[in-house]
Symmetry: C2
Subunit: 227 residues, 2 copies
Amino acid sequence: MSSTEPVPLSPTPRSTLTRSKERGRVERAELDAVLDTGLICHLGVVLGDSPVVIPTVYGRDGNTLYLHGSTGAGNLRAAVDAEISVAVTHVDGLVYARSAMHFSMNYRSAVVRGRAALITDEDERMHALRVIVEHSAPGAWDRVRPPNRKEMAATMVLAVDLTEASVKVRAGGPVDDPADVAAGVAWSGVLPLRQVFNAPIPSPDLGPDIETPADVTARVSGGVVTG
Amino acid sequence: MSSTEPVPLSPTPRSTLTRSKERGRVERAELDAVLDTGLICHLGVVLGDSPVVIPTVYGRDGNTLYLHGSTGAGNLRAAVDAEISVAVTHVDGLVYARSAMHFSMNYRSAVVRGRAALITDEDERMHALRVIVEHSAPGAWDRVRPPNRKEMAATMVLAVDLTEASVKVRAGGPVDDPADVAAGVAWSGVLPLRQVFNAPIPSPDLGPDIETPADVTARVSGGVVTG
């Protein structure tokens, strides 16, 4: 599960794009880039006979995507040893076209499919939790209290191999019909979007000697989350 | 399908929260608020025996959520007359806690479940496309070329009733263990996030007499998309 050897992206027919192929990406590094800059994923599981899509946090280590949650979470229990899908999407801009059907969005997306395995080894479970926390809060793990035995017992950790995934990227302006361009029917262009951090809000019960750590302030001054 | 009579949220057991109930929302207006401020949804369908999650645009009219896509899109064809799930999630902040397992995110999410119906009536299909375009580009439909017969023939429109949904909202600071607060182990607080628009980028082939429309410039000066 924790091999870090790169693997080819999309070796299976069901994860190979058949439409809008020009948006498809085939390099494994592009999958990692989409996953590593996302904050949440959308996990799809089959519950009963029906799909359900749940937003959740995640982390990546090499070819493994880690998910976690409460042992009491029915949606997550349904994922154990089952086929699942995980999507991570960044919206980079709204594409205004000259005709309704050419409106679009600029985005980067990854859709992973695979079987979710329940991790039972305590060392790998702890490692996975570190990977997940460090994914959304890089630099935080080493300064906080690690999970205790009770918290570990209440937590389920799942792993999915990143061997089957589709990555799509759309960038640039609208693709208008030449007749609409010639007719000059409407404005067209892109309205770019990005996520930014605001100033951190310290907890009111913080001691006066605890300053905002550098890994937090660096994110704010860096400004952009994605885009 | 296009009834605008409000319905209660989550009337079914499977869409009623059993965990973290304090995050659950029961008013229908809160579902609409999450859906109406989102730009994309994640659609979950079962393809073969496996779930797949796809990012896509959408629109809402009353109790109906509309989706669309190419008639050639296998993922969307799999949704016709089938159980699906649609999730819309806003991430509002990263919650830094004093202990690893209390890290969290502030978010607003809606998870819809239901059966997707293929819309065949041409008037409703056109109406749905207007709803979808106006969802991400309000004010744009009336100034652009509407779909022509060929485009309509290549487009599939699906509708899902908004009668079964879970809405969750987390806001505020970390919920730390009292012992960790007393020990003063680490900084804790919230790093708020928001999406903002950048200046619009007009298409290079725009005629000189076509100015950026007010509905586009208003979004930029408004600044915030969500949050």
